[in-house]
Amino acid sequence: MALLEVRDLSISFPGGSGRGSALSKAVDGVSFDVEAGQVAGLVGESGSGKSVTSLAVMGLLPHTARVSGSASFDGRDLLAVPERELEGVRGREVAMVFQDPMTSLNPVVTVGTQITEVLRRHTGASRRAARDEAGELLARVGIPAPVRRLREYPHQLSGGMRQRAMIAIALACSPKLLIADEPTTALDVTIQAQVLELMGDLVRERGTAMLLITHDLGVVAGLCDTVTVMYSGRVVERADRHELFARPRHRYTSGLLASVPRLDAPRGQRLQPIPGTPRDVIGWDAGCAFAPRCSAADDACRGTELPLVSDGARDRHLLRCAHPVPDQHDQHDQHDQHDQHDQQERSA
């Protein structure tokens, strides 16, 4: 059994545009797993429902949100446990790193206090022990002069350092699962790479599972074991990382990959944008949400609800598409060799 099993998660908010009682759906029947000690990627563009999904798992959605489905963590359904019990889970067993380190730290409380607060809350450590632990944590996330930094306020730290501090706070109680919601989006490109590497190292050495939410396929390629692609509040494709990058079957995924520049692409090849814009989530109907932007769409896509099914021979590759991208053997053999080559290089 996976550490986190999200099943049929649907989230809607009251107050659609126009009619008063309308509900606007943000997430519709999303299911995915995060295995213990693994990194699972949740990919999608803005508005695809990935952040809302993570907030629902943490129980941090506003009270007005209607949530259904289940999110079983270590055998407990996080969507069903009472708030008081959830407070004990948050921070200790599941922790979260947010997108913007500039605003996610309390500006009037010292960095040290913000770390020790969590330690003392969940481990009952003494003030002194928590202080020492906090210093070690800051040192571990690569903040120079950690003991001095404990006494400083967030505005005295740079953006990259603040995100490192956020990571230290999130990992303070050694949670089993770390949810990272676009952890590098607000950072400079050079810092992005450092912070991602740090997060990868930390979760690996602690055996922490991570749910990495991002719109950046480059981030996914570097860190994730499995990838779930969301579009307009639904999961459209799910596969192991190498499988997904080598053989994207859903038209949206392949479109995304075609729109990202690659170093190994032939010279002069143009990037392929996906035509159109993401649809307004309000006003769902049966059928594929991507159909209006899809070159292969026909009546089969629009009329009926498509299930998330496994892709023939590979049962770990799931997709929701009536006309998947044909499995191009030539191309994927090439990619396989490429991947193997990659792995050899990495292990060497």
């Binding site: 889970v89 921070g91 979260m96 730290l105 306020y153 967030p154 505005h155 740079s158 953006g159 400079d188």
Partner: protein, 308 residues
């Protein structure tokens, strides 16, 4: 620039960035802006002078307050003018005018500060309940505050004085009760604004208890406007103390020096000796101006929109 220093690794400068956003930086930059603002300096100087006079009243005043001098020379048509022992002359009950003014500062400060502190405390409790807990607590508390707000403060003062008698305490309570709604609404609004911020979501995601989130995260971040309001309210309170005693609702003890009652006493001699009314009026106006100037400057300094 800050991010580059991170990329370069250790020894990033620890001096606060002058443009730093966030409240730690906010207080720093507020202080810097305050020092550069002439109105703030003028206000602070007046406030400081007022405080010094009030605290050291026995050292400054030439006599004892509320003690009519024997053979004062006060006649129904005139009061004695300045003389060596009495720089400002005597007032109508035959007491030294300067002494009354100096001790009056003490009374104004005492009642002003105590009533503002009471109002602030009451307003803070209600504001934290409403803004921190939200939900039905918010609705109930804010309706109570609305009811308080609908009662004219003067009427409230009359009722409190009628119930508690004409004592300084009843003046303090009357003024404080009138202030509670102001602080409660301000703090609630400020906390509501903070509640939606990222760091509150972040501390919630760490399992920090709700009480702790409200008291050690929301509250400190919401206090800025409340502090400004307290400064401004002090000015109002000082005027109200005078107003209440002018209306005969203040301290009934005649030996207590009080600017408002000095105005009442001076009223009958306004045509012959206007200085008896001018001096206490001047003191009330200047003190209130001092607190207002300082409070306004503080508000400007803390206003994020004004920062460059």
């Amino acid at each position: 620039m800050t991010q580059v220093s991170d990329a370069l690794g250790p020894a990033a400068p620890t001096t606060p960035d002058p443009d730093a956003v966030g409240s730690g930086g906010l207080w720093h930059s507020a202080w810097r802006r305050l020092r550069r603002n002439p109105a703030a300096i003028a206000g602070a100087a007046i406030v400081a002078l007022f405080l010094l006079v009030a605290v050291f009243a026995p050292l400054i005043a030439p006599g004892q307050p509320g003690v009519p001098l024997p053979n004062s020379g006060v006649t129904p048509s005139s009061v004695p003018g300045p003389s060596p022992g009495h720089p400002l002359g005597l007032d109508s009950p035959g007491t030294d005018l300067l002494t009354q003014l100096v001790y009056g500062a003490r009374q104004s400060l005492l009642i002003g500060v105590v009533s503002t502190a009471l109002g602030l405390a009451g307003g803070a409790v209600l504001g934290v309940l409403a803004g921190g807990l939200g939900g039905w607590v918010d609705v109930v508390v804010m309706r109570v505050v609305d009811i308080l707000l609908s009662i004219p403060s003067l009427l409230l003062a009359v009722s409190v004085a009628a119930v508690l008698g004409q004592r300084p305490v009843s003046v303090m309570i009357a003024i404080a009760v009138a202030q509670v709604p102001i602080f409660a609404r301000l703090l609630r609004g400020s906390m509501l604004a903070q509640r939606g911020s990222d760091y509150v979501l972040a501390v919630h995601s760490l399992g920090v208890r709700r009480r702790t989130v409200v008291m050690s995260h929301l509250l400190p971040n919401s206090l800025g406007p409340v502090i400004v309001q307290a400064t401004l309210t002090l000015a109002t309170a000082i005027i109200e103390v005078a107003a209440l005693s002018y209306l005969g609702l203040g301290d009934s003890n005649p030996s207590t020096a009080e600017w408002g009652r000095m105005l009442v006493n001076a009223q009958s001699r306004l045509s012959t000796d206007p200085h008896l009314a001018l001096w206490p009026g001047f003191c009330i106006a200047v003190t209130a101006l001092g607190f207002t100037l300082f409070g306004e400057a503080l508000r400007e300094a803390l206003d994020p929109k004004g920062r460059k």
